[in-house]
């Protein structure tokens, strides 16, 4: 892959253009990573592709090897893997609460202690998620309780 960087003080903002013979999965992945930096996530719903603002995402969940993106209004699907998203979205305040769930701290409404040191998380839209024992400790640490 050839990378060229043009520094031009006259350009008002940073512009990235991708030139390729065809749109391969690798190129799509690259574009997706760039979009995450721009606070956008490429998602699909009913065959249509959307650019979702990361701030709108309540949580992400893997189910049967598929990754679902939950917002207040709809559920989307993304081709990205959970571990990739975890790395890419960490800077946006996302963190794991179980093996299959990533969520954004700012969208948590309340927390409640659950059995076996787990935490029941109520999201702003009223949905409830469970932080498993292992990840509940991480959440407590993140909140400065450990």
């Amino acid at each position: 892959m050839k990378i060229s960087i043009n520094i031009n003080p006259d350009n008002p903002e940073t512009e990235i253009s991708v030139t390729c013979p065809q749109l391969t999965p690798e190129v799509e992945k690259l574009i997706s990573m760039i979009r995450v930096m721009d606070s956008k996530l490429t998602v699909k719903k009913d065959g249509e592709v959307f650019l979702l603002d990361i701030g709108e995402i309540l949580y992400l969940e893997t189910m049967e090897r598929k990754c679902f993106v939950y917002t207040d209004k709809a559920v989307y699907e993304t081709d990205a893997k959970m571990y990739e998203l975890e790395q890419q979205l960490a800077a946006s305040g996302f963190f794991r609460v179980s093996k299959s769930t990533l969520l954004q701290l700012k969208h948590i409404k309340s927390l409640r202690a659950d059995i076996n040191h787990r935490i029941r998380i109520t999201m702003q839209n009223g949905e409830q998620l469970i932080a498993s024992r292992m990840y509940a400790d991480d959440l407590r640490e993140r909140l400065g309780l450990r």
Binding site: F68, L111, R112, A113, I130, L143, G144, L145
Partner: protein
């Protein structure tokens, strides 16, 4: 949107076994202490818990088997109320209350059927109630207090963190 409730950790068989072993060991230790602190003859007269090979003052095989059954039932109640698979009440304090109530009821049935002390013994039942009731009340109180305290701490920390993140 309703898939999140399926994310519940499996309670391992090791936890169940540990709970059974712990309950069994505690029963044997307590019963043995009672046997040794009271005279063999008296304990044999007052309870069927004594006598191994017809020797008063020791725990019999059938008693140990009864303890094992009680331990298994105790572990089963813990699994029912604390695994999150069967009883799905969110409040920990309520789960503790239900579990203790069931365990005390189970113990009363076992005492009655296995004759751990004579079923007409007022002193025996008074002792049982005096032992069980404070445990029940203390357990519920501590569970309720610790749940409230932890919830308050977590939510205060959450709000603080969210405020911090809002600031540029």
């Amino acid at each position: 949107m309703g898939k999140k409730n399926s994310i519940i950790d499996n309670k391992s068989a090791t936890d169940f076994l540990n709970c059974t072993c712990l309950a069994f060991t505690m029963q044997v230790v307590v019963a043995t202490i009672v046997m040794f602190t009271s005279s063999a003859t008296v304990s044999a007269e007052q309870s069927k818990l004594s006598s191994i090979y017809e020797t008063p003052g020791y725990l019999s095989k059938s008693t140990l088997l009864q303890f094992l059954i009680v331990s298994l039932l105790t572990a089963l109640f813990r699994h029912i109320f604390f695994s999150g698979k069967i009883v799905k009440v969110p409040s920990i304090a309520l789960r503790v209350t239900l579990m203790f109530t069931c365990e005390i009821a189970m113990l009363a049935v076992v005492i009655w059927t296995c004759g751990w002390f004579h079923s007409v013994s007022v002193a025996g039942w008074a002792g049982f109630v005096c032992g069980a009731l404070p445990c029940l009340i203390a357990g519920i109180y501590l569970a309720f207090k610790s749940e409230c305290k932890e919830n308050e701490e977590m939510n205060a920390a959450l709000k603080k963190k969210q405020e911090e993140e809002k600031q540029p």
